[in-house]
């Protein structure tokens, strides 16, 4: 595989052909914030947190789905990007009901981590306070829509790794919700194998293990990528 060299934030970097900007950056210890990206499943470019500037183009490009091009000059940390990322996180907090103090993921939540990483100290938008349900019909797991950021990581991991496609998205815009099977309660979704991959994948407290304490909600998200890699090596 051919090598590519390009520049990120004034640092010269080599990458393999076909690699994304995000992969190459991470291999070199350059962090770009992400939310919808999850190692081991396909990328959808939906959260827009990984947007970067590429010299010579006004349009911002998502690092997670943009392949590296020889000699491209990428900036990941400009004032414009920092401001937009902060706004995106603020919009997420204002969109649903994120009350960290009473959330099972408190302290183990990627949304919290992102808020800290982008320097969000308050939310400049009014909270929408939508009515969101909690579904605890599944004997082992639960879904609390108040915490869902619609990253669709659960949808992809269940479809692409577990292979059963229990999760999907229904509705449009602000009314969009993740659903199980044909919008049945999770406990009645016949396709679910109770494998727990979606619990591992969820970045927030939206999908949780029932009865778990906050301390037990720490998730090893590398497991998904590990499973995928292990399979690929065996086949």
């Amino acid at each position: 595989m051919a090598a590519r060299t390009f520049t990120i934030d004034d640092q010269l970097i080599s990458a393999r052909e076909g690699e994304t900007i995000l992969q190459a950056a991470r291999e070199h210890g350059i962090s770009i914030p992400t939310l919808c990206h999850l190692d081991g499943v396909s990328d959808v470019g939906a959260c827009r947190l990984c947007l970067v500037e590429i010299e010579g183009s006004r349009a911002l490009r998502p690092a997670c789905v943009t392949p590296v091009v020889e000699e491209m000059v990428v900036r990941t940390d400009t004032e414009r990007l920092r401001e937009y990322r902060r706004m995106i996180i603020e919009l997420l907090f204002a969109e649903r009901n994120h009350v960290c103090a009473v959330c099972v993921a408190n302290g183990h939540c990627e949304l919290q981590d992102l808020a800290i990483a982008v320097g969000m100290d308050h939310v400049r938008f009014d909270y929408a306070f939508p009515r969101c349900d909690v579904d605890i019909s599944h004997p082992l797991f639960g879904i609390d829509h108040n915490r869902c950021v619609l990253c669709t990581r659960c949808v992809r991991v269940c479809d692409e790794v577990e292979g059963v496609h229990t999760w999907d998205v229904a509705g449009r815009g602000a009314d969009a919700r993740v659903i199980t099977d044909m919008r049945q309660p999770w406990g009645e979704a016949r396709s679910c194998t109770s494998c727990g991959k979606c619990v591992l994948a969820c970045p927030t407290g939206a999908i949780f293990r029932r009865g778990a304490t906050v301390g037990e909600m720490e998730r090893d998200r590398n497991k998904i990528a590990y499973i995928v890699a292990a399979r690929e090596q065996r086949w």
Binding site: G45, I88, L91, A94, E95, D126, L150, G173
Partner: protein, 532 residues
């Protein structure tokens, strides 16, 4: 089918014509005003006077839909408007002298005379339900000529040199798109006609299909030959039942005559067209969402590249063009690239169809050469606003913006409209008078975008909801000057970070009204001192 058979059909159709032809509009606008029963009464009235030299035919849209139902009596070109079924006998009697009870329209009105009809050349003239009517107007000859006398590369060259740009909104050069699809490798290729038409107030594409469906099929077949596709889809929304019905009929007729299907014109070219009916979501007009919908998946966009030209339907090279873009193709092939390139403005060749609506005397469908000014359209063709004065013209629908009256001399071409903060868009044109509040206008479009956001990406999903909320605060007098600044900042962020064109353009109506009518926003803003 060969060319002589085609010409025989055309000749036969012409010889069957009666000297006098009463044309009654049966496109949706006039149908909803009762033109079907009117047409029936006209037929009965002709039968009653026992005249075999008169025929009554149902035709497509004549343009001045706001004055419908419309009837035109040819060859004299007498136009009647607001015609009721009860007027039918008097219209027939008027052929022998005397006055019809229906009001006379003015075919010499600038509404008609300032038009240049290429896309709509057959609209209001031929019977859209009969393929013979289209063939008699020269239909399918361009396809024959392409299949027998031109290589695919030559076809693409003609389209490129014509300067035609996509009429679906963004104005991408059509020839370049075709060339890219032609060069892409795939075991199969597809041609898709985008007839989703989700913009509120727009009805151009629907009218074109209802009035001249074969033209779209012929344009698609020529495109398929040029890029090497063998399967086409027309993606049309379920809210357009008449358009769907006429397309279905047209496809069946074309197949029966061997103008679609295998071995078209015995040229070794195979092309099928199927209809895909969409549920009617604005975002499904976006090309990657449209393809997902055709494939049977949730209609939401994905990041591009890869572009459809490279990896489209089922991962294969796919050409997607708008209805009006395809409708331009047969005339371009028939008359040549130079003919087309001589019409219009420097970087915007040809004509554009607009659905002219809002506070204006003559609403309806017009086709004008690019480069005419907004003032000519609004004041001369549209007859100006009935009461008060023109305040602004909105073009481009929810993706576009409001152009203030002071800029009415802006020519209608892609670059000029963009320069004043709007876009050509697909052809919706809404005239607003001075009783219109521009914050309300921005609110209307934002509400639309918020409802139509697919929800996949955060800036658009949460941003449109938040912008709508802020507009509500402004309208209820609860916002401060700082809120206005925040709204503007949010608009720019959503524009620059959203995944697809919906989110990228949703802020445009707000930004353009804030730019030109800022005082109307400020009038709502409460005293800073009161802000807690």
């Amino acid at each position: 089918m060969d060319i002589s058979e085609l010409l025989t059909i055309a000749e036969h159709e012409r010889t069957m014509r009666r000297p006098t032809c009463i044309r009654c509009c049966t496109a949706l606008g006039c149908q909803s005003a009762g033109s079907l029963s009117l047409k029936q009464r006209l037929e009965e009235a002709v039968a009653e006077v026992d005249r075999t030299d008169i025929e009554v035919i149902g035709v497509g849209c004549m343009g001045m839909c706001g004055h419908g139902p419309l009837v035109r009596v040819d060859p004299d070109g007498v136009l009647y408007e607001h015609v009721h079924a009860a007027d039918a006998p008097s219209i027939v009697a008027a052929l022998d002298g005397g006055d019809a009870t229906a009001p006379r329209g003015d075919p010499q009105h600038p509404f008609f005379t300032l038009q240049k009809r290429i896309v709509l050349e057959n609209s209001g003239i031929i019977d859209p339900e009969r393929i013979e009517s289209y063939i008699a107007a020269g239909g399918y000859q361009a396809l024959y000529c392409v299949l027998h006398d031109m290589t695919p590369a030559e076809v693409i060259d003609v389209v490129t040199r014509s300067g035609l740009r996509g009429r679906g909104g963004a104005g991408y050069p059509t020839g370049l798109k075709w060339a890219t699809v032609a060069k892409s490798h795939g075991d199969r290729k597809y041609v898709v006609c985008n007839a989703d038409e989700g913009d509120p107030g727009a009805f151009m594409d629907r009218s074109i299909i209802e009035s001249d469906p074969h033209k779209i099929l012929e344009g698609m077949a020529i495109a398929a030959y040029a890029v090497g596709a063998d399967q086409g889809y027309v993606y049309v929304r379920a809210e357009y039942p008449l358009a769907i019905q006429r397309l279905q009929r047209a496809i069946a007729q074309a197949r029966r005559l061997g103008l679609l299907g295998a071995q078209i014109f015995d040229a070794g070219f195979t092309f099928r067209i199927d209809i895909r009916v969409g549920a009617g979501a604005f975002v499904c007009g976006e090309e990657t969402a449209l393809m997902a919908s055709i494939e049977g998946r949730r209609g939401q966009p994905r990041p591009r590249p890869p572009y459809p030209a490279e990896s489209g339907l089922w991962g294969r090279p796919t050409l997607i063009n708008n209805v009006e873009t395809f409708a331009n193709i047969p005339p371009i092939i028939r008359n040549g690239a130079e003919w087309f390139a001589a019409i219009g403005a420097e970087h915007s060749k040809g004509t554009k169809v607009f659905a002219l609506t809002g506070k204006i005397r003559h609403t309806g469908l017009i086709e004008v050469p690019m480069g005419v000014t907004l003032r000519q359209i609004v004041e001369e063709m549209g007859g100006g606003v009935p009461e008060g004065r023109v305040k602004a013209v909105q073009t481009g629908g929810p993706s576009g913006g409001c152009i203030p009256a002071a800029l009415l001399d802006t020519p209608v071409d892609y670059e000029s409209l963009q320069r004043v903060g709007s876009i050509m868009g697909s052809g919706g044109m809404v005239v607003m008078d001075d009783a219109t509040n521009m914050v309300d206008v921005a609110h209307f479009y934002m509400e639309f975008c918020k409802d139509e956001s697919c929800g996949k990406c955060i800036p658009c999903r949460a941003g449109t909801a938040q912008m709508l909320h802020m507009l509500n605060l402004i309208r209820s007098g609860q916002a401060t000057a700082a809120d206005l600044a925040r709204l503007e900042q949010l608009c720019i962020m959503v524009k620059e970070t959203s995944l697809c064109g919906l989110g990228q353009s949703a802020p445009n109506p707000v930004l353009s009204t804030m730019k030109y009518f800022r005082e109307e926003y400020e009038a709502f803003v409460r005293d800073e001192g009161l802000a807690g």
